[in-house]
């Protein structure tokens, strides 16, 4: 075992975007490991760092030489014709006496001595740099006269490459490796010489650079928390901001600033968003949990005045931003939402589905219908309509123009301030929800009606225009809309058929003159009625399949088996999601029991036999064997119980009723020969099995169940 040495690589550049640093750090380690692996080298430990101005990699415990390897190539048989031998010798550049014979076959054995690891590293550095997968990269400087010049995230400024304390010599795009780097841009702009991987981190720390992002995040988290606490406030933690600020600083200094309390009249979400998105500031809460007029910014220097000027400057910037936000807020408040809604005529929702105003009209009618039909119970249809009419109005307000992510929320604020019913304001605020798995599902009836109607209209419209999601492409977020519908329906126990609601949405689209996309030109008059029916069927089939598919995806997370959902869907006519899912859940519990598993096995055996055989229905065996009679009796008992339980939507009871079939069916297969020589007996027994199959089918199509 030879001695081992550490390797240090630092790639210094102009400021790397914060959002790219973590992945770049991982990529550097991964790509380097792959390059070394090709030479049979592996480090005992790999550490990588990223700051705004550098990526660094430390490989600990690398051998100084790669291992010697012996490569063996199989040649011709000993005694093969001379041409074959000559060819092999030419290929391997060996002479006949250098070949080794084993089991009558000749082998060429070439011993390759180990290479100096430093050589491998010198070749690996340019290879990794050239192959680096930056999300966006650029050219720069005089070399960029050619588009083939090196691409890097920002101009590459320097390379430190040390194997032990020796420089690993390499050059790329005019940058020559060495031992020198620079410290903090302002605290220590001069060069520093690194001795080896051992002193890299500490030498830079002495020059105001904390190379470890985790440590910088820790400093920011602690410093920001303490700064808030000192002011009697609580910091609003924000992981994203922590990473972003750590990616913007080599020497982070959290500082607390204030803004005029008068700005707190603006909704807190607006203040938080302005501070976060535009300025990358943390915000604070007071003892009562309310947003306080304070923020924490993170500077990149330890200022000689303790940060006084930095805080003053940041306060001024935030004040200007907040006064802009307040201007938008106050201006927006003066315009009734109903007036704003009128401007939606100018915004195209989709070229084939009209303007946003057209969509609003449809959603309003649909929400009203969902309330009136009691699909959404305890919902005032007039309020649902009103909320839907105003739901999209904030899209044309100044505030949402500035911060699109505040859509809905601002409409809610404006509606409340303009005296709309609180349920209407809440519905405007929350009608985009839920926006993903795990998001809150609205429960207020008016909100549910609007949220549901909005999503139903979207799915119906795009399906009519044949703009369905394909593969990974879902440009109109229809899958998300479908998940929203499922969550709203199941979360609120909404009863009825989803496919029917979508049909209603389609009807409303048609009333606006928006029709199904047709590939054919205008059909002949005589065919029209038939084509309309066909389009209806296609639409219903497509949306049913789509929703079923989404249900499976959604329920997979909750641990529900997709094959059981298929088994219930396969019965047909079950579009009430609440009932469907109750049935699936009961089924899942049942097949998990011993009775259930055995009944399933019995069912499959019966179904297999029935698939192959033909028999006369209605045959009766006047002298049944005991097991046959027992099965018939069990079916007589189970069938009405299962039917009644299903009608009462007591699916566990239905399963329990079927469970009593388990012992008789097992006994039947043990003791009775189905294929009796007597055709009447055979037909009767097959009939009995068919009865058993049909009884089970009342609950689900067991053939779809896997296992």
């Amino acid at each position: 075992m030879g001695s081992v040495t550490d390797f240090l690589l630092e790639l210094r550049s102009e400021e790397i975007p914060a959002r790219m640093q973590e992945k770049a750090r991982e990529d550097l380690a991964r790509l380097f490991a792959a390059e070394l692996d090709k030479a049979g080298l592996k480090a005992a430990e790999v550490v990588s760092y990223a700051t705004p101005r550098r990526l660094a990699l430390i490989l600990k415990g690398l051998p100084e030489q790669t291992a010697a390897v012996s490569e063996e190539t199989k040649g011709p048989r000993a005694g093969a014709p001379p041409q074959a031998l000559e060819g092999f010798l030419r290929k391997t550049c060996l002479t006949a006496d250098q070949l080794v014979e084993r089991d009558g076959v000749l082998f060429a054995v070439v011993d390759k001595p180990g290479r100096a690891t430093a050589e491998v590293l010198a070749a690996a550095i340019p290879a990794v740099i050239r192959a680096f997968p930056w999300p966006k990269s650029m050219r720069w400087g005089a070399d960029s006269l050619s588009t083939e010049s090196l691409r890097w995230v920002r101009p590459l400024q320097g390379i430190v490459a040390l194997f032990g304390s020796d420089v690993v010599p390499c050059e790329i795009a005019g940058v020559v490796s060495g031992a020198a780097t620079v410290g903090h841009r302002f605290h220590h702009p001069g060069t520093i010489t690194i001795g080896s991987a051992d002193d890299y981190v500490e030498k830079l720390r002495a020059c105001h650079v904390i190379v470890d992002g985790t440590e910088r995040r820790g400093i920011i988290a602690l410093g920001a928390t303490m700064a808030a606490r000192k002011a009697g406030l609580t910091l609003v933690e924000d992981e994203g901001l922590l990473f972003e600020n750590a990616g913007l600083t080599e020497w982070p200094m959290p500082l607390l600033g204030r803004f005029d309390e008068a700005f707190l009249a603006v909704p807190p979400e607006v203040i938080q968003l302005t501070a976060r998105v535009n300025q990358k500031y943390f915000v604070c809460r007071d003892a009562a949990g309310k947003l306080a007029n304070a923020f924490v910014c993170v500077a990149n220097i330890d200022a000689v005045d303790g940060g006084e000027k930095i805080v003053a400057g940041n306060q001024k910037v935030l004040a200007a931003r907040l006064s802009d936000a307040r201007f938008f807020y106050e201006t927006d408040l003066k315009v009734p939402l109903a007036d704003q809604a009128g401007k939606l005529e100018k915004i195209v929702f989709h070229e084939k589905l009209g303007t946003v105003a057209d969509k609003v009209e449809r959603v309003a009618k649909l929400a009203e219908w969902l309330a009136a039909e009691k699909i959404v119970p305890n919902c005032d249809p007039a309020l649902a309509r009103r909320a839907a009419e105003l739901a999209k109005a904030d899209l044309v307000t100044g505030m949402v123009g500035e911060f699109p992510e505040l859509q809905g929320l601002m409409g809610g604020y404006y509606a409340a301030a303009q005296g709309e019913d609180p349920a209407v304001a809440a519905a405007i605020r929350d009608h985009y929800k839920p926006v993903g798995q795990g998001d809150d599902v609205p429960t207020d009836p008016v909100t549910v009606a609007v949220a549901l109607a909005d999503k139903l209209d979207t799915i119906a419209g795009f399906f009519m225009k044949n703009l369905k999601p394909t593969g990974s492409k879902d440009p109109f977020a229809l899958r998300r809309a479908a998940l929203g519908i499922l969550a709203l329906t199941l979360g609120n126990n909404l009863r009825g058929e989803v496919v029917g609601w979508l049909a209603q949405a389609r009807q409303l689209l048609k009333e606006q003159g928006i029709d199904d996309e047709r590939s054919e030109p205008e059909p002949a008059e005589t065919l029209r009625a038939e084509l309309v029916q066909q389009a209806d069927r296609v639409f219903m089939r497509d949306v049913r399949d789509f929703m079923a598919d989404r249900l499976k995806v959604q329920q997979r997370e909750a641990g529900v088996r997709h094959d059981l959902i298929d088994a219930v869907f396969a019965l047909g006519g079950e579009d009430d999601l609440v009932r469907l899912l109750a049935r699936v859940k009961a089924l899942q519990a049942f097949v998990g029991t011993e009775d259930g598993a055995n009944l399933l096995a019995g069912y499959k055996r019966a179904a297999n036999i029935l698939k192959k055989e033909e028999w006369e229905a209605g045959a009766v065996n006047p002298a049944p064997e005991p097991a046959e009679a027992a099965l018939a009796a069990a079916l007589d008992a189970a069938e009405p119980k299962a039917t009644a339980a299903i009608e009462a939507e007591q699916f566990e009871d239905a399963m329990a009723a079927l469970a009593i079939l388990r012992a008789p069916i097992d006994a039947f297969f043990d003791q009775v020969t189905v294929n009796d020589a007597d055709p009447a007996k055979r037909a009767a027994r097959l009939g009995l099995l068919a009865r058993m199959r049909d009884a089970v089918h009342k609950v689900a199509d067991f053939a779809k169940i896997e296992g």
Binding site: N300, I301, S323
Partner: protein, 316 residues
């Protein structure tokens, strides 16, 4: 600190020094720079670093990048270093002189260095120091901001430079212009002069900025201009005439291209771009039409860039 603005300093002889009235032309250099002295300082700084000091282009445009000294000169292999002030017009940003931070007419200080020098960041920081920013007390950061101009068919990577949280400069390495790869890449610095001045002078309103050192404010020079131009941009400008002007500029651009005159063609593209901005401010361009107009301007600008490349014999 700079020598510029000091002027021919009067040095009265010792005995009568106190008796003389204070010569009002002498400025106190410990005071923050006035708006005009800041411009002169930047001119001096970049001039001594090899830049041509150009004058503003005499056309209405939305950004300094539209100046042919940036757009056209960013193309081709030749070295090009220039600095200039460019008035910028953003009709939709007008606030009738009532917002302390927003203007429909303001100034950018533009530096273009081709090829981008290896020490561009240091050169830039040197210019900030020259106008009085002390790096021991202020927090300068380079925050990712990729630049794209859909109307010029151009993009680049770089940063917005923050001073104590305020964006003071756009720093860009041009990668493409008019749809062509920049060979070589130029570095572009765009300073927001009013913002920088408000920062240096510690003013909350742009109108309170000291324009010179003798009491003239930015408001004295531009407040009425903002009021009247905002009204005209938003309320008065004849939209029929503007639509007509847009069509005429586009047609003239194409005629110039046919005549193989890229510079006049480019001027008409600038004109069309500004007319589009005015139409936008008048609120007469619908969302659907917007993209079409931007595409039209881009085609004109690209056409001019193509003609410029061809005329100079540069390959794409």
């Amino acid at each position: 600190m700079t020598r510029e603005g000091e002027g021919p300093r009067l040095t009265p002889s010792a005995p009568c020094a106190k008796a003389l009235p204070k010569p009002h032309r002498v400025t106190n250099l410990s005071e923050p720079l006035s708006f005009q002295r800041m411009i002169l300082t930047l001119h001096d700084y970049w001039s001594t670093r090899g830049c041509l000091i150009l004058q503003p282009y005499d056309m209405r445009m939305g950004a300094g990048t539209f100046h042919p000294a940036t757009t056209l000169r960013a193309l081709g292999p030749e070295s090009w270093n220039a600095a200039f002030v460019q008035p910028c017009r953003r009709p939709t940003d007008g606030r009738y002189g009532e917002n302390p931070n927003r203007l429909q007419h303001y100034y950018q200080y533009q530096v273009i260095l081709k090829p981008s020098p290896p020490d561009l960041q240091e050169l830039y920081l040197g210019s900030l120091a020259a106008i009085g920013i002390d790096f021991t007390k202020h927090d300068i950061r380079f925050v990712e901001d990729d630049w794209e101009s859909p109307t010029l068919g151009a993009w680049g990577l770089g940063w917005e430079v923050w001073c104590d949280g305020m964006e003071v400069t756009q720093f860009t390495y041009f990668q493409q212009m008019g749809g062509y790869d920049c060979k070589p890449v130029a570095g572009e610095l765009t300073y927001g002069l009013e913002r920088l001045a408000m920062y240096i002078q510690n003013k909350d309103s742009v109108y309170d900025l000291a324009f010179n050192d003798e009491g003239v404010t930015y408001g004295d020079v531009f407040l009425e201009n903002e009021r009247e131009m905002s009204k005209w941009n938003f309320e008065i400008a004849d939209t029929d005439a503007l639509f007509d002007l847009f069509r005429k500029a586009a047609a003239e651009c194409e005629r110039s291209l046919e005549a193989k005159l890229p510079i006049p063609a480019y001027e008409q593209a600038i004109e069309a771009s500004h007319i589009f901005n005015l139409l936008n401010a008048r609120g007469v361009i619908s969302v659907a039409e917007r993209q079409a107009y931007i595409g039209r301007v881009r085609d004109l600008a690209k056409g001019a860039c193509t003609a410029w490349m061809e005329k100079n014999g540069w390959a794409a």
